[in-house]
Symmetry: C2
Subunit: 150 residues, 2 copies
């Protein structure tokens, strides 16, 4: 019974990832991936950053879909030995975020110029129509073309 | 430089989670959370399920935001000792998905009737305006009200 009257208002509002250093993460998600910080919450010993693309601009935060919430537990950025787990080695779970782009070659060329780390370039492996880049915590971000066969 | 010309087409297309048993996961995401399977890919020894709410109906898969991709590596459902890691105990990383709903009390009452497991009921703890339910792999799903203060 998908899309029943009972669930008609439900929306996939956001996904939350913990990040070690918000300065690095915001630089990445704002400047490299082009998202905007649309809200911020200071919880005392932690801060939450809410980012989104502006395709749903004008829609309230609760009505939006596809917000990215980054949780920063204060102090982790100063601990050299501290790292979050990206879910792609044991124990596995979360896999990746995916950003679609109109021109995947231009996007990947741009990421190279900006010094972004790649998990998989377009030319690596068999799947030549997708790439994976890494955010500052090594979370995987798949890059796909908006209108090409997937 | 968020929303620059270079990143204007970028969209947060999907988030990928690995699931142990797609039968249980699809029952949960379709019937409990009201999402639709909009695409499926059989990769031989794995299957990918793409689910979404229909608020962006008519938009192509690549142009959509907030798709949930569930990856099933065949066989895990038959291994009693197998479990994925939800990211909320060590090693931490991914935190949760969040679904917004118009009437959070009605939604939580409905989840109770459907036998959904709760990580945090509305009445637990200090934050009385959010709940957390658990999907079949124990991934956390925050439930918030669409239009209430957050």
């Amino acid at each position: 019974m998908p899309a029943s009257a009972e669930t008609a208002s439900y929306r996939l509002n956001h996904v939350m990832l913990r990040v070690k250093d918000p300065k690095k993460s915001l630089e990445f998600y704002e400047n490299v991936l082009g998202m905007d910080v649309i809200d911020k919450h200071d919880g005392g010993d932690f801060t939450l950053y809410f980012l989104a693309y502006q395709h749903q601009k004008g829609v309230s935060r609760g009505e939006r879909e596809a917000i990215l919430e980054l949780t920063h537990n204060h102090g982790t950025e100063n601990d050299d030995s501290f790292a979050y787990h990206n879910g792609n080695n044991e124990p596995k779970g979360f896999g990746h975020l995916c950003v679609s782009v109109d021109d995947i070659q231009a996007a990947c060329d741009r990421f190279e110029k900006l010094g972004v780390k790649f998990q998989k370039r377009l030319t690596d492996g068999k799947m030549r129509n997708i790439a994976f880049i890494l955010d500052p915590d090594n979370y995987w971000i798949e890059i796909i073309a908006t209108n090409k066969p997937q």
